[in-house]
Amino acid sequence: VSDIVRTRSRPLSFRPSPAGWIALGSAVAFAIIALATGQAAQLSWEGITGLLERMVALGITAIGQTLVIIAGSIDLSVAHLISVSAVLTSFFMQGDSNGFLVPVVAVLGIAAFVGLINGLLVAWLAVNPLIATLGTGLILQGVLSAAFNDFAGAVAKSFQSFAYGTIGPLPISLLTFALLSMNAIFVLRRTVFGAHLYAVGGNSAGARFAGIRTERVVITAHVAASLLAGVTGLYLASRLGSGAPWVGESGLYDLESIAVVVIGGTLLSGGRGGIGGTLAGVLLFAVLDAGFNMIGVDPFLKQILRGAIVVAAVAAYAFRTKAYVG
């Protein structure tokens, strides 16, 4: 088996995949903008880790989104779940009074529960995943906004090191992001569960005939995606010092996580794709963000451009599809 893998990986030819081109192009664009606007300092170690830190929140969410999309589902509830977990993190911690371990476990538990509900709705009740997760997202946001209308509580001092601390020269947030990414890549490429995800997303009926418990696979993917959205909520609470009920929605994590997954070459209909492409898409968005800041684009114009770029980027992949797109 290892021989086959080796011959297919073509170690001598340097031919980047589309995702590779996106990553390369983004990096070059970042360098050009930094030099052209006279901000060469952006190319220092601090500048580059700063750019990479812009990837963390969207990146962690997008890893989860990649998993559910490969499994043939989708998750529109992530933005609202991020708000819920960010608010609950700081609300549970109440400064230093409750430590941070129990609140973190509680928040992740709630996130996993939301994922379980999403998964059950999609896999058992056969609710269209767009509608099911839109619905759970609305319920989460409604309950959250009814209970909280502003920043709630504060995170523990020690917990802020999740966003601001470093180990040696490396920010802890980046290390976490890198670990989660590698973990997801490993799961997709080297585990039976990963193979099942692709099988279920590619041909659900076929996978079932092959003896795969398709419901279980879809539910697990949803739990994983919600857990990762929960981690993003923890990270945002740590960075802001406190969670507010609009942090997820205003970050557009639902739309953007789907957009970067598609930009990375993962099929929206499931069955094909991977984490590498998604990470390239996330880098592209981080560069756009940083680039707009360096050039000093008006924030409203930035929103217009983002909307246009999301659609254009998805179109660049999708326009060749023959199938009817809903």
Binding site: N128, I131, L134, G135, I139, F300, I304, R306, V311, G326
Partner: protein, 329 residues
């Protein structure tokens, strides 16, 4: 689900089980109206009902527009921000000058036409899923409205512009009062009804939603029908925006979340998500039910955000029921 539906059972009992069935949405609407009357008896008087219709008109119009996109198997999430854009643009264009009302309205319908065309063409030609296309459009319209107004919209609308949402004729026989918004509503619903249920276009829209491939193979110009559906939806949003500008004035929040309300209303009205089934009377009854539900939640003193949660629950339950029906079929 049509208003009256002949349902025949399977097997040997088929003949026995043919019966008339009323779509559940009408019963839901009746029950909600009864509940509101319990709290507020003046609701059932002509003036109370007319006022309710006036307030519900934008949502009902929006739901009719959304129905066309839903029927062809898509979603239009950009209508809420198109309403925001309409309200803000109207105040910036007229600057309170009554003479500029009609030019502004013409311009706004031009914008609506363009937005619908772009949505439809991007979905059909570039094959971008409608959820992503219209979310992108949502960002662009909201950004454009904010950029144009500098982030904090000021100004006010001229009185003759606000009349569409506010003007009420009094002392009319039988119905007592007659708001202009209700006339707009009736006209929009009548046109939608005719388009969906009496024209070739309407039948094709439903056929595409049912099975796009089959429709295409039998010679339907799928692209034109789909683009037209998005245009109708955008036009409905501009119309709703003009009414909303009339009674709630200029704000960045006008129209917020109304896209999902329209989808939820359509689902309550028996419209099948991902296409193929839906009716204008059902959609209107769904919109009125949802608005009646909001009114009732208000009477019960529940906070505004609970509306969101209720909508979410409605969407899930309706989609679960539809999913089950589809599997049984």
């Amino acid at each position: 689900m049509s208003a009256v539906d002949l349902k025949s059972g399977a097997g040997g009992l088929a003949g026995m089980r043919v019966r008339l069935r009323i779509a559940p949405v009408y019963l839901v609407l009746l029950a909600l109206c009864a509940a509101i009357t319990w709290y507020n008896p003046s609701f059932i008087e002509p003036a109370g009902l007319m006022n309710f219709l006036r307030r519900a008109a934008p949502l009902a119009i929006l739901t009719c527009g959304q129905l066309f996109v839903l029927a062809t198997g898509g979603f239009d999430l950009s209508v809420g921000s198109l309403i925001t854009f309409t309200v803000i643009a109207a105040s910036l264009l007229t600057l309170g000058d009554a003479l500029l009302t009609w030019p502004a309205i013409t311009f706004l319908y031009g914008v609506g036409l363009t937005v619908g065309l772009v949505n439809g063409l991007v979905v059909h030609r570039l094959k971008v899923p409608s959820i992503i296309t219209t979310l992108g459009m949502l960002l662009m319209l909201k950004g454009a409205a904010l950029a144009w107004s500098g982030g904090s919209p000021r100004g006010y609308l001229p009185e003759n512009f606000r009349a569409f949402g506010r003007l009420v004729w009094r002392d009319i026989p039988v119905i007592d009062t007659l708001p202009l918004a209700v006339i707009v509503l009736v006209i929009f619903v009548a046109i939608s009804w005719w388009l969906l249920h009496s024209t070739q276009f309407g039948k094709l829209a439903l056929a595409i939603g049912d099975n796009a491939r089959a429709a295409e193979l039998s010679g339907v110009l799928v692209g034109r029908v789909r683009v037209a559906a998005f245009v109708i939806s955008a036009i409905s949003a501009v119309t709703a925006g003009i009414l909303i500008g009339g009674y709630s004035g200029v704000s960045v929040d006008a129209g917020n979340g109304m896209d999902l309300q329209a989808i939820a209303a359509a689902v309550i009205g028996g419209v099948r998500l991902l296409g193929g089934r839906g009716s204008v009377p059902g959609a209107v009854a769904g919109a009125l039910s949802l608005y009646a539900l909001f009114t009732l939640l208000n009477f019960l003193g529940l906070p505004q955000p609970v509306r969101l949660a209720v909508q979410g629950a409605i969407l899930i339950v309706a989609a679960a029921i539809a999913g089950r029906q589809r599997r049984e079929a």
